[in-house]
């Protein structure tokens, strides 16, 4: 069975085996239908399709939305942290793996049709604000599957502290071809 882990602080050998290289991270990000400025994953650190994933969103402080959120007092919008968690969850739930999955270091199913998900439900609480510049570690674990629905337990960490945690649900969008959210 493929290696798995529960959060980005895990440092055991199994987790290290599943970590994505930079090239693989770029390729995974390209699997998302989202593109800048509305892609909120900077790199994928680890991914086990249909199980869990860890990614990082680097927020420099120069992003345009800080002009309004808020003037002279920038705070990363909570809704964008949710969106980042949803994008990572889209990869976890719907990325079906590369053709050469066995050789890539990223475990995954290689013979499945690609799918796209849409966000249908969110239940997330925020424990702290994120002030840029910041590196936000995003964690998603698939928790429940019911028909076309995938529910994920998600959290976001910044400076070693949990800043957001909860659950969100994605639904498969019939006939689409990317791992979205």
């Amino acid at each position: 069975m493929s290696p798995r882990w529960r959060d980005s602080s895990t440092t055991n050998a199994a987790a290290a085996e599943s970590r994505a290289t930079m090239d693989e991270s770029h390729r995974l990000l390209d699997e998302l239908p989202h593109r800048p400025p509305f892609r909120f994953l900077t790199r994928v650190q680890a991914l086990t399709p249909q199980e869990s994933g860890v990614a990082v969103w680097h927020v420099s402080g120069a992003e345009g939305f800080f002009q309004g959120h808020f003037p002279n007092h920038p705070i990363v919008p909570g809704v964008l942290i949710i969106e980042a968690l949803a994008q990572l969850s889209g990869l976890v739930g719907f990325y079906r793996g590369p053709l050469n999955a066995e050789d890539s270091g990223i475990s995954g199913a290689k013979d499945k049709e690609p799918q796209q998900g849409k966000l249908v439900q969110v239940d997330v609480r925020f424990d702290d604000s994120v002030i840029p510049p910041a590196e936000i570690t995003l964690i998603s674990q698939q928790a429940r599957v019911l028909g076309a629905l995938r529910q994920f337990e998600v959290s976001a960490k910044c400076r070693e502290a949990i800043v957001a945690r909860g659950r969100l649900t994605l639904a498969i969008v019939p006939g689409e071809t990317d791992a979205g959210a």
């Binding site: 429940r144 019911l146 629905l149 659950r167 649900t169």
Partner: protein, 90 residues
């Protein structure tokens, strides 16, 4: 899933959770044979998923992913039997 008759207490607790989560008024009747889909309850799939989440918390079990099919949601009694199975008895 087994076919035993669930306890009335289990059915009543589930009915209470359904009533709470779906914000149903007292005029909506919920009993063991009430279908979850297509009746007055008229759950959709997201309702069902969130209901399972509530039931996990209420009855203290953890739903294995992909361990169940649509028969679980046939009616309240079927859901109660499924929970009995997950909890190891009625």
């Amino acid at each position: 899933m087994t076919s035993h008759a669930p306890s009335p207490e289990r059915v009543e607790r589930i009915a209470g959770i359904i009533r709470r989560d779906l914000m149903l008024g007292p005029d909506v009747s919920i009993h063991a044979e009430t279908p979850l889909f297509g009746s007055d309850l008229d759950l959709d799939s997201l309702d069902a998923l969130l209901l399972l989440q509530s039931l996990e918390a209420e009855f203290g079990f953890k739903m294995p992913t992909e361990s169940f099919g649509p028969e679980v949601f046939k009616n309240v009694a079927a859901l109660a039997r499924f929970i009995d199975d997950q909890c190891g008895g009625g």
